[in-house]
């Protein structure tokens, strides 16, 4: 089951439509990283609303996507983790460490807008500060 990846402005949006096999998840990771490089986008949204479970492989893949995209200059945010799925994750002691998660697509877009603005500010040459 291929996950469609849409481009919206400077962001890529991957919407998972159904349960995914490990191979599907790996494929999504490769496709996203390739597209981040090609399109020079600033942000990635992965919508996991339709994902049936968040098991160790899914958690690892989402973490990998986040880290690999960051190396290529894009921030990632995961949207739509269902309450049931979150419940299982908490019991497993799994946190998506270092991975941003928000409620839905709208919040995801707002999050990325905030993050990419921060980056622009950060990358302006700074005057030497008096802080040690």
């Amino acid at each position: 089951m291929e996950v469609p990846i849409l481009r919206q402005g400077q962001y890529l949006i991957a919407s998972i439509q159904s349960a995914l096999t490990d191979a599907d998840l790996s494929h999504l990771r490769e496709a996203l990283i390739a597209q981040v490089g090609r399109s020079r986008c600033r942000g990635v949204i992965v919508d996991v609303t339709a994902l049936d479970v968040m098991d160790s492989f899914a958690v690892r893949t989402l973490r990998d996507i986040t880290h690999m995209a960051r190396l290529r200059g894009a921030e990632t945010v995961i949207v739509g983790i269902q309450p049931d799925v979150a419940f299982a994750m908490v019991q497993l002691g799994w946190t998506l460490k270092g991975v941003a998660t928000v409620l839905d697509l709208e919040e995801g877009l707002a999050f990325l807008d905030g993050r990419t603005k921060e980056r622009v500010v950060e990358s302006k040459p700074k005057k030497p500060s008096s802080r040690g």
């Binding site: 096999t21 490990d22 968040m54 160790s56 799925v85 419940f87 019991q91 497993l92 799994w94």
Partner: protein, 135 residues
């Protein structure tokens, strides 16, 4: 009781099928949808281990009853290489495949009963169950 569902595990689509069947059975047993997801996640972990370490095997799902408690039983059987040191394999972070080593300890945490039986060179059987909380 009685009815059991035997699901072959030999490809990654089988892992998805097994956890979805497990979820459906948990729904029949009256588990909440949060608990259904918990059971599905545990099945996903042990089914993936079968595929990864033994290449193929089987998951057997059934409804179980203990007094007036209902539950779901999951048995995972393979004739793979077996686990030499079960105690270590159950530790979080132990992995022979550069994994996270979270599968077995995670599944144990998710279920109420969890037992590993393994003989090197013969295979591995994991038996687990989850019971519905009495209301």
């Amino acid at each position: 009781m009685g009815e059991e569902l035997r699901l072959p595990i030999a490809a990654d689509v089988d892992v998805v099928e097994a956890r979805q069947q497990g979820r459906a059975l948990a729904a029949v047993a009256g588990f909440s949808s949060g608990e259904q997801t918990v059971i599905a996640a545990a099945i996903s972990e042990i089914a993936r281990n079968i595929l990864m370490y033994a290449k193929k095997g089987e998951i057997i799902l059934s409804l179980v009853q203990n007094g007036d408690r209902q539950g779901v039983s999951v048995v995972a059987i393979d004739q793979g290489p077996g686990i030499p040191d079960i105690e270590r394999a159950m530790q979080y972070g132990y992995s022979t495949s550069h994994g996270v080593g979270a599968g077995l300890p995670g599944a144990k945490r998710l279920m109420d009963e969890f037992e590993v039986d393994s003989v090197v060179g013969r295979g591995t059987t994991i038996t687990m169950a989850k019971w519905r909380r009495a209301i």
